[in-house]
């Protein structure tokens, strides 16, 4: 590639980066600007909307509930999907298409239809089990299945699950050990990605919680928006920043280990010398 072409490509990348960055950052900057406005146009900038996030009890409880739901959903997703997908890949690959279909099905069902179907279930749950907002974890688990399945499937496809598990089995590992000590550590990034997507879906979910009369973060923001728009926007920006921080953390955790790369057969050159010495 010529130098001129390389320079052009570099400029093109920078331009794309700036345009996309602006597309992402300008609305957030506008939201931040709005959230720091004073009561009147003449008032100085203030962080009172941000500070009042913690002082608005209904908002705090909604944030905590959403975070708890995100945690519960992520754990539930991992416990349900990871062993199932590993087992299907290793022992019953014939049903992988069925599992994939079931996991992707929620994508095709609109939230309103889902709620219509789930409303009687939740009525029963709230009467006989609990009316806690955390029971939304069940439906959120269904909601995150398509995203988590795709991510985990990609992670599993990136490693030779069969050979690794057979190697571990021949060395004396139980199936549980194979999963926890051999497979899971090698799909760590996929697990983190699946969790991040689950957290993002749960933190951004509004329709189901609203229709089932639960107050999660998005519902609280919507309600607050009617009473105090600046606090509502401040919370929205904070939620976006949280997702951004999670992405940054993930990008560092998911980095490949530093190393010297694939080496030449340098060790084998020593072999010849060793073999020259004959057998012991």
């Amino acid at each position: 590639m010529s130098r001129a072409r390389r320079t052009k490509l570099r400029i093109f990348r920078i331009v794309v980066f700036i345009v996309m960055g602006a597309f992402f950052l300008v609305p957030i900057a506008a939201m931040f600007e709005f959230s720091t406005r004073g009561p009147t146009d003449a008032s100085p900038r203030t962080l009172s909307a941000w500070l009042s996030i913690a002082q608005t009890p209904e908002l705090s409880s909604a944030i905590i509930a959403s975070l708890e739901l995100a945690l519960l959903t992520s754990i539930g997703m991992l416990v349900l999907l990871v062993p199932t997908m590993i087992w299907v890949r290793l022992r019953v690959p014939a049903v992988s298409r069925t599992v994939e279909f079931l996991c992707l099905l929620p994508l095709t069902v609109p939230a309103i239809v889902l709620v219509a179907g789930l409303a009687p279930e939740y009525q029963w749950i709230s009467l006989n089990f609990s009316d806690s907002i955390l029971t939304l974890g069940f439906v959120y688990l269904v909601l995150v299945l398509p995203y988590a399945y795709r991510t985990l499937d990609t992670g599993l496809a990136a490693i030779d699950v069969k050979t690794l598990s057979e190697a571990a089995r021949s060395l004396g590992a139980s199936w549980l050990t194979v999963m926890l000590r051999v497979i899971v550590p090698n799909m760590w990034v996929a697990l983190l990605n699946a969790c991040l997507l689950s957290v993002a879906v749960v933190l951004g979910e509004f329709t189901i919680a609203n229709l089932l009369n639960y107050e999660n973060l998005q519902v609280a923001i919507a309600l607050l928006g009617r009473a105090n728009a600046t606090v509502s926007i401040a919370v929205a920006v904070a939620a976006l920043l949280l997702a951004f921080v999670l992405l940054v953390v993930l990008s560092f955790v998911g980095r490949p280990r530093s190393g010297v790369g694939r080496l030449e057969e340098e060790g084998l050159s020593g072999f010849g010398r060793q073999l020259g010495g004959g057998l012991r």
């Binding site: 490693i159 030779d160 050979t163 690794l164 057979e166 190697a167 571990a168 089995r169 021949s170 060395l171 004396g172 590992a173 139980s174 050990t177 051999v182 550590p185 090698n186 760590w188 490949p256 280990r257 190393g259 010297v260 790369g261 694939r262 080496l263 030449e264 057969e265 340098e266 060790g267 084998l268 020593g270 072999f271 010849g272 060793q274 073999l275 010495g277 057998l279 012991r280």
Partner: protein
């Protein structure tokens, strides 16, 4: 290299090889019979290579012995104990796979120590044993490298160390060299044999590479369609094949038309005794090794059933393979390179066939070399 081989967790000397018996093993995958009554006994400390074309059942046999698959029928006895129903993690079998199988998130020594950890060997002993095993395969300086920091050959050597670290009753090698380039493959093949002799573990080596099998094994088993066609020392397999399939699969073979009469076959004027005893009189294809065909000398202007024209010479190092066109059929002969140089392409030469016992293949066309 002076690694001492100590039994895992005991500090005693290595387990002597144990006898392994496969008795009438059968395995079907739907309509396909992968193993059709395979029986094989391996003596303690012996290295047996199973050789055969793809789909002949050699890997299935190895996987049944490892416990990675279940047999439909038959028994597997290791050191006199029936292990047929035992799960893979209880069999005490070490295995090196065709695909790179090191755990990517672990260093070389952690990989080697994994099996010992599963056996709850004390950490200090584990570390020492893993170090010894890495030294045994010549990689003690690579203990802290991850799989992606090792070459293919190094990864397979670590895999060998990992399999041996648990002091296995049986070592199983499932085409461990097939992913490597030719030079590395030859070196690692010798290294595997050296290590196997050193530790004395009974070993089953599966390969489709006849050179590999003949070079490394105490005995070679040639398989076809789930059956063992012949089991014997490499020299026997090559020089006295029990069937036409073995003769054609192991080494190169000339397929020359002839006529069977009274227990011998006449091939282009040379009468050759038969290995088989049940061949009816009549036309047949004789299977003759290239080294059984020699050059008597130049034959400019002469004619005869074994006079032909050199059409190609392949240099193999000390020897060369010469292809001679006899008119209706081509013949391969293996000559010393100096002798082959005296008969360049286009030269008319006279051949002779050594009167060794030959096998007959009656259902295949003549003139091919396999």
């Amino acid at each position: 290299m002076t690694a001492t081989i100590a039994a895992a967790g005991t500090g005693t000397t290595a387990r002597a090889g144990v006898e392994v018996r496969l008795e009438n093993l059968r395995r079907r995958y739907g309509p396909i019979t992968a193993l059709d009554g395979l029986s094989l006994t391996m003596a303690p400390g012996e290295l047996v290579a199973l050789l055969g074309p793809s789909g002949c059942g050699k890997t299935t046999a190895l996987r049944l012995l490892a416990g990675l698959e279940d047999a439909d029928e038959g028994r597997i006895l290791v050191d006199g104990h029936d292990v047929t129903g035992q799960p893979a993690n209880k069999r005490g079998v070490g295995m090196v796979f065709q695909a790179y199988s090191l755990f990517p998130h672990m260093t070389a020594w952690q990989n080697v120590a994994f099996g010992l950890q599963m056996r709850r060997v004390h950490a200090a002993e584990r570390r020492q044993r893993a170090g010894e095993m890495l030294e045994l395969v010549g990689l003690s300086g690579y203990a802290n490298r991850f799989a992606h920091q090792l070459s293919g050959g190094q990864q397979q050597r670590v895999a060998l160390a990992r399999a041996l670290a648990i002091n296995p009753k049986v070592l199983l090698l499932d085409e461990p060299l097939s992913a490597l380039d030719a030079k590395v493959r030859a070196r690692l093949r010798d290294e595997i044999r050296r290590v196997q002799l050193e530790v004395g573990t009974t070993t089953l080596f599966v390969t489709h590479d006849q050179e590999e099998a003949l070079a490394i094994a105490d005995r070679v088993g040639v398989m076809q369609s789930g059956r063992l066609e012949q089991l014997g020392p490499p020299t026997t397999i090559y020089s006295r094949p029990a069937s036409a399939f073995v003769a054609e699969f192991v080494g190169l073979t000339n397929r020359l038309p002839g006529t069977v009469a009274r227990g011998a076959v006449d091939v282009r004027g040379t009468r050759l005794p038969l290995v088989q005893t049940d061949v009816p009189d009549g036309p047949a294809i004789a299977l003759i090794r290239p080294e059984a065909v020699s050059v008597l000398g130049d034959a400019n202007g002469a004619s005869g059933p074994l006079v032909g024209t050199v059409i190609a010479t392949v240099f193999l190092g000390a020897t060369s393979r010469v292809t001679v066109d006899l008119g209706d059929v081509t013949v391969l002969t293996q000559l010393a390179t100096s002798e082959a140089a005296a008969h360049p392409a286009g030269t008319r030469i006279r051949l002779a066939i050594r009167p060794d016992p030959v096998l007959i293949a009656r259902d295949q066309p003549a003139g091919e070399h396999r």
